[in-house]
């Protein structure tokens, strides 16, 4: 048992930090110490954490650049919201339906990751960045023209407008083009978000420490050497990228089941969102899963915490971005951190050194 603990120390520390933060926030919510604005931010925050952690699997562990992570989130959000709307009242209880919705978001986003990765990841070079960028935009725009309705005859699909669905009188529009999906059951809670963060972290951290995870990192460090020891490069690239996309889909499920009306806009599933997630990953430290969690939390909450400063808000936000970048990447800051770590007691020192 002691051996088990020491081998998995950094994983347990990361999980411990998240659990601790969850308990503190839960207590604050119960005490009423948190504004309603802040409370409304909790579920999106969980989604952003999962997005950042899953993107780090592609960027930090696999070493490929993806600029369309929000696109996979979008897939997860719409497929699961559609499913939930279809099955409200059919599948009981609600939590079971939500579990199915999560699985559907996971599988569909993962499937799209697989389909996109299959041709692109065979190529050498940064083609993935270009293709994922295009993919994110295409998915978002596609969702804006998609109409799906249901009546006694079954499902109707159109990409023109709601009228051309030709619904009967008893018909109901499920996906209404640019207006998206309205009336998704509000299954997402902060607790559900916390559980999903924990599951995502366990999946990713355990994956990294497995033979397949090592193969992925070997490919990142040196493709030619990886091939020379018999590693199937395309296969493991695809595995890591699909897993990353699938977890982004889970974040999408969480996001969509928190909203009354789900629309695909530039703000939530567009290029800006993909870049924001990438900023979380880069500032948290590429390849550092724990760093992604922390930076996603700080950078999501900061604009809200600074709201009181009105005019100076974005200025301070920018300064924090620069400070985090320096803290994580500047050689002198890294040397400073190494000195601090050297002064810490032994246990803490080792944990920080081995941080994944």
């Amino acid at each position: 048992m002691k051996n088990y603990f020491s081998k998995n120390k950094d994983t347990l520390i990361t999980l411990g930090i998240v659990a601790f933060a969850y308990v503190i926030i839960e207590i604050m919510v119960k005490q009423g110490a948190i504004s309603s604005l802040f409370k409304g931010l909790l579920v999106p925050l969980c989604a952003y954490v999962i997005l950042a952690v899953s993107l780090n699997l592609t960027v930090g562990i696999l070493g490929e650049l993806s600029l369309g992570h929000a696109g996979f989130m979008c897939i997860g959000a719409f497929t699961s919201a559609f499913f939930s709307k279809l099955t409200v009242g059919v599948i009981n209880p609600d939590w079971l339906r939500f579990v199915f919705a999560i699985l559907i978001g996971f599988v569909f986003a993962g499937l799209f990751g697989f389909l996109i990765g299959m041709p692109v990841l065979r190529l050498k070079g940064d083609y993935l960045a270009i293709v994922t960028l295009a993919f994110g935009e295409i998915i978002k725009n596609l969702m804006n023209v998609l109409y799906v309705g249901r009546d006694s005859k079954g499902l109707h699909v159109s990409i023109k407008d709601a009228v051309s669905l030709g619904l009967e009188d008893d018909g109901q529009i499920l996906i209404n083009g640019a207006q998206g999906i309205t009336g998704t059951p509000k299954d997402s809670t902060f607790t559900a978000g916390f559980i999903l963060i924990m599951i995502s972290l366990i999946i990713i951290l355990n994956f990294i420490k497995s033979r397949e995870g090592r193969a992925v990192m070997a490919i990142r460090d040196n493709v030619i050497a990886a091939e020379s020891v018999g590693i199937n490069v395309t296969r493991y690239k695809l595995l890591a990228f699909s897993l990353s996309a699938a977890l982004a889909g889970v974040a999408g499920v969480l996001y969509s089941h928190n909203l009354n009306s789900l629309m695909a806009t530039t703000k939530n599933f567009g290029y800006n969102m993909s870049i924001m997630i990438l900023v979380f990953v880069v500032l948290g430290g590429i390849g550092s899963i724990r760093g992604s969690v922390i930076s996603a939390v700080i950078l999501t909450l900061l604009p809200e915490l600074l709201r009181g400063l009105s005019t100076y808000r974005m200025l301070i936000y920018a300064i924090v971005l620069i400070a985090m970048m320096l803290f994580n990447w500047a050689p002198s800051a890294r040397a400073f951190r190494a000195r601090i770590i050297a002064k810490l007691p032994f246990g803490a020192k080792k944990a920080l050194n081995e941080e994944v």
Binding site: N206, R211, M217, R220, I224, A225, A226, S228, V229, G230
Partner: protein, 256 residues
């Protein structure tokens, strides 16, 4: 019945890049358990020959047989599975992985558990990982790297990085080990130790070794037979002592 004792048989192997025939009609026949040297001046095509043997390049002509099996044109990973492992002239380690994990990547195809077992940390994961650790530590011990196991590969000094590359190649359990200038950048003391290690692993792991080397002391010290390449063509071949006395070889190395 010479074939039974032959591990690697190369027939009329050629490749051209543009108008340049980088390897031109190369023939090799290496016996099981042999320590064979491939030497020649810079640009003679030695590393290209290695890249042909490991499937990095596909030959224009010729056949490569390993243990009687035709492996010409196979992918690099399949050639590794067939039993050829290599090191690189300019070291190619997985620099951000630990020394231990570098070797464990080499063990990748010999140990198996499912992705699900890894994510859920099932007993099969723990059992196989323990076996991999044991095997990896055994290999590291051979190269005196056991104490450095938890360092990052990039933190190792140069000489140890070369050794780690050999350990990683050995982890794939090859029949034939290709070493591309294993002594490059080493001082005489390190070179001497390396010679002992190469002979030791050849005997311990029942290997056949083909090595490219510029250090004539090392070549003369451990290689049983040699092939000399010059401008892509075979200049001489045979037992080491004879080849090194060959006037043409001396001219190729020292100039007219």
């Amino acid at each position: 019945m010479a074939l039974i004792n032959t591990l690697l048989e190369v027939d009329h192997l050629s490749i051209s890049f543009g108008g340049l025939r980088a390897v031109d009609d190369l023939n090799l026949s290496i016996k099981k358990g042999e320590l064979y040297g491939l030497i020649g001046p810079n640009g003679a095509g030695k590393t290209t020959a290695f890249n042909l043997l490991t499937g990095v390049y596909k030959p224009n002509e010729g056949i490569i047989r390993l243990d009687g099996r035709n492996i010409t044109g196979l992918r690099t990973i399949d050639i590794n599975k067939a039993g050829i492992a290599r090191t690189f002239q300019n070291i190619r380690l997985f620099k951000d992985l630990t020394v231990l994990d570098n070797v464990k990547v080499g063990l990748h195809n010999l140990y198996h558990y499912s992705t699900l077992a890894a994510i859920l940390r099932l007993p099969s994961y723990r059992k196989v990982e323990r076996q991999m650790d044991e095997r990896a530590y055994e290999l590291l011990e051979v190269f005196g790297l056991k104490e450095s196991a938890l360092l990052k590969a990039s933190q190792l000094p140069y000489g140890k990085q070369r050794k780690l590359e050999i350990a990683r190649a050995l982890a794939t359990n090859p029949k034939l080990l290709l070493l591309d200038e294993p002594a490059a950048g080493m001082n005489p003391q390190e070179t001497k130790e390396l010679m002992e290690t190469i002979t030791f692993i050849r005997d311990k792991f029942h290997l056949t070794v083909l090595l490219i080397e510029h250090d004539m002391k090392l070549v003369a010290g451990i290689c049983e037979r040699l092939t000399v390449l010059n401008f892509g063509r075979v200049l001489a071949e045979g037992p080491t002592s004879e080849v090194l006395k060959n006037p043409e070889v001396i001219t190729a190395y020292l100039g007219e």
